[in-house]
Symmetry: C2
């Protein structure tokens, strides 16, 4: 058995997220079907990150075990030939048997795009969050600073699984403005459910003046979801890097 | 009667171009229907540029005559409320009665995006032309130089209407590389049918080494469509400016 790692890009618009679901189409499912068509084997594809409905990936990593004799470097061409055009395999390589796309990950990086202008932009409607009110980007940058480091991020977690360790380390969180677009990037050793989108929603509240930058430490300490901002919508979110 | 000018953005993916057609949905049609819903009047909306199926606009200009009492600055909100989310009116203002979106235009500017890397990019699949072979951008820049100025562009025109004057003046034609994206921008006093897409296809042939940059003047002089490159696909093309 070989362990094959794939690097995948996808447009999440037409998918109910990454993870397999009954009665709904997911990226994992279309990829597993593609692998089956190409290799003749039913495989379990492990993704590094379970992206939600509408969330995109410019760099998702997955792995699967296979007996196929197709050389790894030919797999992207074979898989892309049977995949829909909103999912593309950009690389495949054989990795050590111990490699696990999710458990082996040391850090993950996400990008979030906000369009900050009066009217929405048709060609970007599935690829950003349109915020029509002027945002104070300098205040958002100040607020971003307080998120860095190791904290209990319970205030930035959707309700759900209570067993997950809420302590995460954010290595980097940046806010940049390029024309009408505000680009937020965040890298951490892991993320709680909806954590990136709640951080973005909270930064937008800071940009709107609803929350002051200096209040962020107290919000983190409160571990109270109701103290943070709204959950930003999914279509502005992109998985952009996984470090192993 | 007031003469109202609109500035419009649209994602051309789901439209059979700008101009009204029987049995096919067009941008002109959805805008005329929106104006009718908002003002109660059937109007003839004149667009500056008849973009093709799949072509986008970041700045289309149109005008129509109306008796409506809705103030122009409120029209974008009223129209966007009834428009689909892939067509957005970003500005409306009253203009002189003599203003005609098409005939009054002094120059038009288009942008074309080429993705030049091994594999296509899912989130850009409707917004660029994927060329998987390495392109020589410096050669493309040299070739671009020869298009500037006043020429008979018959070699860069799809067959069709023979009555149109084939002499146009290109004020600007630039080729820039930003990461994997090659951005071509061209501004002229007018364009023949498919002219931008044939110029882009020809520049790509230069980038591939199929045509030499120095051959461009002879191709222009030949007035022979078969000497130029292929017609680039529509989804990489954006209307970006109209000068009056």
């Amino acid at each position: 058995m070989k362990n094959i790692m794939l690097i995948i890009e996808y447009d999440g618009t037409n998918y109910h997220g990454w993870q397999y679901q009954k009665n709904a189409i997911t990226v994992q499912e279309v990829l597993e079907k593609a692998v089956e068509k190409v290799t003749g084997e039913k495989v379990n594809l492990i993704g590094s990150s379970r992206t939600d409905t509408g969330v995109h990936a410019l760099y998702q990593v997955a792995n699967f075990k296979t007996k196929t004799k197709i050389p790894p470097e030919k797999l992207p061409y074979a898989l892309n030939a049977v995949l829909p055009d909103d999912v593309v395999v950009v690389k495949a390589k054989e990795v050590d048997k111990s490699f696990h796309a999710r458990y082996s990950a040391r850090s993950k990086r996400y990008r979030y795009l906000i369009l900050n202008r009066q009217f929405p932009m048709p060609t970007m409607r599935n690829y950003c969050w349109h915020v029509p009110y002027p945002l104070d980007v300098e205040a958002m940058k100040k607020a971003a600073f307080f998120f860095r480091g190791t904290h209990d991020f319970s205030a930035f977690k959707a309700s759900g699984n209570k067993k997950v360790n809420p302590v995460k380390t954010i290595f980097d969180l940046t806010v940049e403005k390029e024309g009408d677009l505000i680009k937020i990037e965040v890298e951490a050793d892991g993320f709680l459910y909806n954590m990136v989108r709640i951080i973005v929603g909270t930064l937008v509240y800071v940009g709107l003046g609803k929350i002051k930058a200096g209040e962020i430490p107290a919000i983190i300490e409160s571990k109270d979801r109701t103290k943070a901002g709204i959950t930003a919508p999914p279509q502005g979110l992109y998985l952009v890097r996984i470090v192993y």
